[in-house]
Symmetry: C2
Subunit: 338 residues, 2 copies
């Protein structure tokens, strides 16, 4: 996850840019109508195209992974919760850095996704197009001249593209501006969701902003709209942070630094509380109130301290109490200045 | 206040031992009936007896002190709130270390008090007897063969002695045993009060345990009863701490260490919250969960971070918000490991 940890444009607010392309082959039925032979053929084709001449990309049958490993991939946004539900037949093709992945037999035959750190939508789009070009040469892909790419669910028909920005918006949340933002963005075809997509809550003030519409727009239009909106949200968030700092003064600083103190000393941290405190610590770092031991310490903790990540570190399944204790220990050690 | 900061017997639970002797001269009326001439004579006599041959003891007219300086003396337990109320005419004679003081014209002509760190009642009593012997030779002091020492308020008649232990009892407080303890101690003539005596609440789990009865008992009886009760409370507190640690486990450790974290990072600390957090940090240190930078760091903060102590540090009166901010700063800097 180097892309997530490295310094990247605007990444004190925009944690990552993601582009996902939904594609289907025209010579196979959609996944929900496939028989076992077609499932195997689909997985094999994807594997041969991407992994035979490219030792960088690894093919993983989801069924070969433990439930904890699957969940850890969801937590790192490499796969969707839906892919885990199809784990018996689905596969994943992934780069060592996890910045590029192809989910095989999620809702569609292929879900190609590319991540970049910070505000780099265009770069993510270009990265996703490389495997897409190999997997989906003209004539092989399910494409309709009028509608565009055909997908299992009609909401993806057209470009088959979902572009999204993962943004950290504590300023807008704490100053009560999120709902107005959601309404404004929905008018231009964008949606605001929590950290793990549809239906998830905005744990720790992290939000995904993405395009809702895939039909009747070009990829360039979608990227331009999202990018422009992203920059506007970024400016609003900066203003909100600054205004909280100026208007609430020491009480605000106190609120942020107490979160840092609790992260540094707590012996038990639930996942939800951790995300909340981490969000405040990130804000404290951005406002230069707090200096973490390393530039990427807080983002690294965000990646590793979800439920499955904790259990991967432990090397075994843990109950909630044990997870909360280990999470607190990892956080405490990471935040201790050497 | 070296006596408070130094290592002393049992001082992880018994912060200090105090003995106070109320005395009056037989050739003067009680303070509330004195005229200006008698007031001056009383102050001068005390000053001549104690300060003329002893440059270690300093004489201070209360009226010469600023309100903040008076309040700071109350916070350090050198004088009583009642002496501040009589500030226009009262005086204080005090040792450099503040372990010995004589309040002149509080409720009685003389209130002689000696402090020792930890559980050292007998030593405090002997220390108080030295100035008492000089000030009150037989024949000069108001004494009745049947009643004992005569005092302005009948509750002090007899020995005129109040002996007390300042104890830190978070274990008994958190496990809900304080009220039962108060009832049990009252049956043997002892009272349990908050940090600043009668009517004050037990901020941060600090309690004063003292004798209620002064009449019909010898000084030795009173000291023996209090000392024995103090040792019993000490054992109960130790058991309560251990049992909280064992039964509540990590959740208890978490509660204590979060208090340390907040002390280390907060930007605003009210006096009440500070005492509460400090109490938890002291408990964490006693249970070896936390190591303060210096052995006396937490006790030193307890002495210096009350409202007037903060303003003495600032060198000027501060409003509550400014006090809370400066308190947080002093605490944060004291707890930062160099």
């Amino acid at each position: 996850m180097k892309w997530f940890l490295q310094d990247a444009p605007e990444n004190s607010i925009v944690l990552s840019s993601r582009v996902r392309l939904a594609r289907n082959w025209r010579d196979m039925p959609f996944p929900q109508r496939m028989d076992d032979g077609q499932i195997a053929a689909c997985c094999n084709r994807a594997r041969e195209v991407l992994c035979s001449d490219n030792t960088q990309l690894q093919y993983v049958a989801l069924s070969s992974l433990s439930p904890i490993d699957r969940q850890a991939l969801v937590e790192r946004h490499v796969i969707s919760p839906a892919l885990v539900e199809s784990a018996e037949r689905a596969a994943l093709i992934v780069s060592p850095d996890e910045d590029l992945s192809v989910m095989v037999l999620e809702e569609d035959h292929l879900r190609i996704q590319a991540f970049e750190g910070g505000m780099q939508l265009e770069k993510a789009y270009q990265a996703a197009r490389v495997p897409e070009g190999k997997l989906c040469p003209a004539g092989m892909v399910a494409f309709d001249d009028k509608l565009g790419y055909l997908t299992a669910c009609p909401t993806n028909v057209g470009t088959g593209m979902r572009a999204s920005l993962l943004m950290h918006l504590p300023g807008l949340t704490l100053s009560g501006q999120i709902e107005a933002l959601q309404r404004a963005l929905s008018k231009i075809g964008l949606t605001v969701r929590g950290l793990y997509g549809e239906g998830s809550t905005a744990a720790g003030h992290f939000y995904q902003i993405s395009n809702q519409v895939t039909l009747g727009l070009s990829e360039e239009d979608i990227l331009a709209t999202l990018s422009q909106a992203g920059h506007e949200v970024l400016d609003l968030e900066r203003q909100a942070r600054q205004s909280l700092k100026e208007n609430k003064g020491l009480a605000f600083e106190d609120q942020l630094m107490r979160s840092v103190g609790i992260l540094q000393q707590a012996r038990m941290l639930s996942s939800a509380e951790f995300m909340q405190l981490l969000s405040m610590a990130m804000l404290a770092a951005d406002l230069k109130l707090y200096t973490p031991p390393q530039q990427d310490t807080l983002r690294r903790l965000m990646l590793t301290c979800q439920a499955a990540g904790i259990q991967k570190t432990a090397g075994k399944p843990l109950d909630e109490t044990a997870r909360d204790a280990l999470r607190a220990k990892i956080v405490r050690e990471a935040l201790a200045h050497k």
